[in-house]
């Protein structure tokens, strides 16, 4: 049993959810994000919305933040110096040679985080198998250290070629730098990632060095301020790869939290999928500026082992959440050639949609929805009241440009946004060889429930689940983020009995590394996965293997060569639809340790015994293609099945239930929505 508080910082809003274990009550709030001082927003949300007694009794504070991400995007970080092997200081700038915008003749790679003069070379060379070809000659280091000092370097990244295979030279450089009196932070590539691909590893090491001080400062300050408010529990931050880690560990491995923002939603969706026993779920998180979607299969999000920020790779586990620039704030316009477009430019939090009455004049997705009556009477989160008149005015020029009425233009804005979002969903599911029609849709975020029926219709999906706390679902999801640690090492081996001994030893070392991060305090569930491929291939797939870890004793690999080969073949067949005759090989060993947080369930507060609402409003039905009366009902007043057309309001989001859809509240609080077969 544990009371906990979750705060998720988004581009537009900072969301808060707390869960009081004693009463089972869950309370949510949304406050505007403070971009210049995100911790101010967090502290304001906690101070103003969480009773002191809850703060004092809370065992966990769980956090999703874009602080590290923004530091990267805005290039506000440490002055980093990079040390690498002679001949390779430009790896960071040459990258892999591709262009992010392939049809853009003028595209240029982003400025590297470390300018060339601060990328310095040392004499040494490891081979791919860890043998030393040239021993380290540290004689240049004193001069380099002096130059770095002159340059104001306060963080040094070290990434040597093949350093993943033998860390001796990186460790020796660290020792020499300390001997020379360097007092800043040092990031060694083999501690960041044990995997090969020098550009990706160098880039990740440099990102770590770049954001570390800033993240540490932010996390310490936030923790102190929480403690001033009376918090006495453990502070955790979401990992890009799923789960959470302690603030203390995040200070040491900040690169693991770069993409913590969208993880809460994927965590919450996974938990819900397990609880409702839904084998296949697609999330549709529609916020102010972006649309995020993720596949949840068998109660698990899909995890990649490399992510990307601002065209820079991050070699670290990464929950596969795809994002496109389409949200409530996306601006509609007519382009030079006469087609109507929506986004990716967004009105953001300021000035926001025209309907917010905060100075926005360009028509957004929210304005189109408001003009069509899809948001009901228009009481939104944070006390915003929609001004339908302003929304209509803003749409006027766009409608005129394509020679349509405002209503038709507004319908068009919704259609185009739906098409873009549906494409993102199709592509993530098709990539896995799956058909989206077999999935249930899980809409959340401020504008997710508004788009749900349109998206499901577009994709031919028959079932929608609207979770509890849909508007703040990412923050709710954070509350269930177990503590997770991960480490991996590239270990190229044929699949053979002799190799398994190496795998076992490697896995043990990886678990020792994890324990050395101070992660050993709790009982963890350990897992081992092997990255495997057919010989001659470059891409690999990851296969779980059985590994027993008895505390105090040496842990053991339980699976035989045959069993591992069979598991690999099954996974390969599932992913690619066939198998090859080549022998299989092992590429890397991945160790994971998960410390489960105590289970918690959402219990809706006791419903006020209100009379069945008989309010209604006029709104556009996409199914009937005209305006019709929509029932208007508060979510907490729903006690039984309800057929569309209806608009369901809750404090942080609005559900648009079109005609032809029917909802039924589940005993556990979620709304289950099914398509009604057309009568005609």
């Amino acid at each position: 049993m544990a009371t906990r508080i979750g705060v998720d910082i988004g581009g537009t809003f900072t969301d808060l959810v707390y869960h009081d274990e004693a009463t089972g009550a869950t309370v949510e709030a949304k406050v505007p994000t403070v971009p210049q001082a995100p911790d101010d927003g967090v502290i304001a949300a906690v101070r103003d919305h969480v009773p002191r007694a809850i703060i004092e009794s809370a065992e966990f504070f769980l956090h999703g933040t874009t602080v590290g991400l923004n530091a990267l995007l805005e290039r506000r970080g440490a002055t980093v110096g990079l040390l690498t092997t002679r001949g390779f200081r430009d790896v960071l700038e040459i990258r892999r040679g591709d262009r992010a915008a392939m049809y853009n003749l003028f595209w240029k790679q982003p400025e590297p985080l470390v300018p060339r003069r601060r990328r310095r070379e040392v004499e040494e060379r490891m081979l791919f198998d860890g043998r030393v070809l040239r021993p380290l000659d540290g004689s240049a280091l004193p001069e380099i250290a002096r130059d770095f000092a002159t340059e104001g370097v306060d963080s040094i990244a070290v990434c040597l070629i093949n350093g993943y295979a033998n860390p001796a030279h990186e460790l020796e450089i660290e020792r020499l730098l300390r001997q020379l009196g360097f007092q800043g932070t040092i990031s060694l590539s083999h501690r960041i990632s044990g995997e090969y691909r020098e550009y990706e590893r160098t880039c990740t090491t440099v990102i770590d060095a770049f954001v570390r001080a800033r993240m540490a400062y932010y996390l310490r300050r936030l923790d102190e301020r929480l403690r001033e408010l009376g918090f006495r529990g453990t502070s955790l931050i979401a990992r890009s790869g799923g789960g959470s880690m302690s603030f203390a560990e995040a200070e040491q491995r900040p690169f693991e939290t770069i993409m913590s923002g969208p993880v809460g939603g994927a965590e919450g969706a996974s938990e819900l999928a397990r609880f409702l026993e839904l084998p296949a779920l697609i999330t549709a998180d529609v916020g102010g500026t972006s649309f995020d979607t993720a596949l949840i299969l068998d109660g698990q999000p899909q995890v990649l082992y490399e992510g990307q920020v601002d065209h820079m790779p991050v070699q670290s586990p990464w929950v596969d959440v795809r994002s496109i620039g389409a949200g409530g704030g996306s601006i509609a316009y007519v382009d030079g050639g006469g087609l109507m477009r929506v986004g990716p430019r967004s009105a953001g939090a300021v000035p926001g949609p025209a309907a917010y009455g905060k100075g926005g004049t360009e028509p957004t997705l929210t304005d189109a929805a408001a003009a069509l009556g899809m948001l009901g009477a228009g009481q939104l989160a944070s006390g915003i009241v929609l001004d339908v008149e302003r929304a209509t005015q803003a749409l006027q020029p766009v409608a005129a440009a394509i020679g349509h009425e405002v209503e038709a233009a507004a319908v068009g804005v919704l259609h185009i946004a739906t098409a873009a979002m549906a494409n993102a969903i199709r592509e993530v599911s098709v990539e896995q060889g799956l058909d989206p029609r077999e999935f249930a849709l899980l809409p959340f975020g401020g504008a997710g429930p508004m788009m749900a029926c349109l998206l499901a219709q577009e994709l031919g999906m028959r079932r929608i689940i609207v979770p509890c706390l849909a508007g703040n679902f990412s923050a709710w999801g954070l509350l269930g983020a177990d503590m997770v640690h991960a480490a991996a090492r590239t270990t190229l081996l044929p699949l053979s009995q002799a190799s398994l001994a190496v795998v076992e030893r490697t896995a043990q070392q990886l678990f020792e590394n994890i324990a050395a991060r101070g992660a050993g305090a709790h009982a963890a569930e350990n897992t081992v996965r092997l990255d495997m491929r057919y010989r001659g291939q470059e891409h690999w797939i990851s296969v779980p293997v059985s590994f027993s870890s008895v505390s105090g004793c040496a842990s053991r690999l339980e699976d035989s060569v045959t069993a591992i080969a069979a598991a690999f073949e099954n996974e390969y067949r599932r992913t690619f639809g066939g198998k090859l005759d080549e022998p299989a090989e092992i590429v890397a060993v991945r160790a994971g340790a998960r410390v489960r947080l105590p289970q918690r369930r959402y219990r809706a507060a006791a419903r006020p015994p209100s009379a069945r609402s008989s309010q209604s409003c006029s709104a556009y039905s996409f199914h009937l293609r005209r305006r019709v009366p929509f029932k208007l009902i508060a979510r907490e007043a729903i006690s039984g099945p309800l057929a569309g057309p209806a608009i369901v309001t809750e404090s942080t989001t609005t559900l648009y239930l079109d005609a032809s859809w029917r909802l039924e509240p589940l005993a556990t609080g979620e709304l289950s929505i099914q398509r009604v077969e057309d009568a005609c």
Binding site: G87, F88, R89, D90, V91, E93, I94, R96, G97, D98, R99, A101, M102, Y103, N104, L105, F106, W107, K108, Q109, R116, R117, L127, F128, L133, I161, Y164, Y196, R197, E198, E200, G336, G337, G338, L339, M340, R341, H404, A409, V411, G412, H415, I416, A419, A420, A422, N423, E427, V430, E431, G433, T490, Q537, E538, H539, F576, G577, G578, L580, D581
Partner: protein
Amino acid sequence: MLNTDPVIHRIDRRERPHGAHTDPITAEVIRHALNSAANQMKRALIRTAFSPIIYEVLDFAVAIYDRDIRLLAQAPSLPLFMGTLNFCVEAAVVNIGGSEELKPGDVLMYNWPYGTGSHAQDLAVIMPVFLADRTLVGYTVIKGHWLDIGAKDPYCTDTVDVFQEGTKYPGVRIYREGKLNDDIHRMIIANSRMPKAVLGDLDAQITGCRVGAQGLLAVIGRFGLQAYEDAVELIFDHGERVVRGYFEKIPDGRYLARGEMDNNGVDVEPVPFEIAIEVAGSEVRIDFSYSPPEQGGPVNCPLPSTIAASRVAITMLAGFGEPPHEGLFRPISVVTRPGTMFHPQPPAPCFLYGWPALQAIEVIYRAIAAAVPEAVPASSGGCICSVVWWGRRAATGEPWADGAPHPTGQGAWNGGDGGTMLHIAESATRFTPIEVWEARNPWMIEKLALAQDSAGPGEYRGGPGIDLQFRMLEPTNITTVCERTRNRPWGLAGGGEARANGARVRLPDGRVVEVPKTTRFVVPKDGVLELTTGGGGGYGPPSRRSREAVERDLREGYISREFARRHYPHALD
């Protein structure tokens, strides 16, 4: 002597009358859906392909055509393949006796180079798409690079006719009404050094085409044939307006530029050529009719790739980053003379067709620069500096092979320095990490670095070229293809030239052999292959480069003090 008449190629506007069954909103939704269907084809292909050349190098093109063989959508892959596939669909359909001979369930294979525009290794799989009532509504097509199709070497720079370049499939049914054609299947196996990989990739191409066909049928099913067809016209008109709007701003006139191939792969003489651009109102004509006669070595560029190079060059400039479709190509016409390097006739060799196409893109920009230098970048390194390696591992005798394109400096433009990356014609491709390479192949990389003083100077400077050195640990065969090793990338508007491309082998005995284009050269153990790729040309007079920018280039080591003294004396004390 060559005295064929020039031929004008332009899109035959088989435009349908615009119905009232659509509007700018439905058109935008359908445009999304068609691009999404093409992207799904691409993902299905990547997910199921056997060869890294497909799933890593992205050496393929994926597109959906309507029943009049007009490009509806193409997924981002190899830009050089942009808008080439209509030619092979047309040729394959003609070869089997016309579209009325096509039946649901038919799948065609086509790789006749003068119809695909590519070398024979690039094989197109074409699937006609039918409604349930057997109405033909379009085609899905995937052209992919097959690892080996039985040419004289796995990769060649010295072929003298097309028959040395691999097996040809001139529009044959691999599936007939849904049934595998076993005769063709056995032909494929018998004509490849790597039949397993090739068959795997063929299956992946067919899977991808199927996914695309479903996507196209879903669009038509949802909106109805009439609304879909009207929307397509609207999409094409829209794209056409965008490109026309661009050329209206360029002053009318005829602009000429010169390029040169180092040689034709067989003979040693350089092969100069000229391209003229004519702008008249919103129309642009690209005139290749002054090209030299078709060559005795494989640098001939078949017509579809000549047209593709023109389309790539123009739409990259005027298409504003949109995914391409037929409408974008309408304002472009291309003039060629049959029997020339840019319109070769069978059996002229064309294994290296891509290299003249790359040069043509650069020369087209050079011609446009004569009118509006601020609209285009200066020359890039102008090549992908490809190397193919193969051999047998010393310890096990096992065969191995690898191949890669490499980055060069990109040209500066009015407003920015150039970067360092792959040529725009291969802009989505990535080269392999050193650590992966060393774990896989018998070599050690000694250097991967930006080359000092390799970029063209200017108010904006080009991107630097790279130096890359491979020390072979076992005897290795190499085929190399580097163009522009004799001519330096040009600058624009007073900007300076950059370093040219180079490739050489340093033998253990100290001899150095230049290998810009070579087939099956044996590098002995401890020989070093050294690539020195070109820089990008500069833009604007170097004397206008700001003091701060020069100081920064010096401080960061992109240029030496001597280079600064020579080109930027104004910025030094």
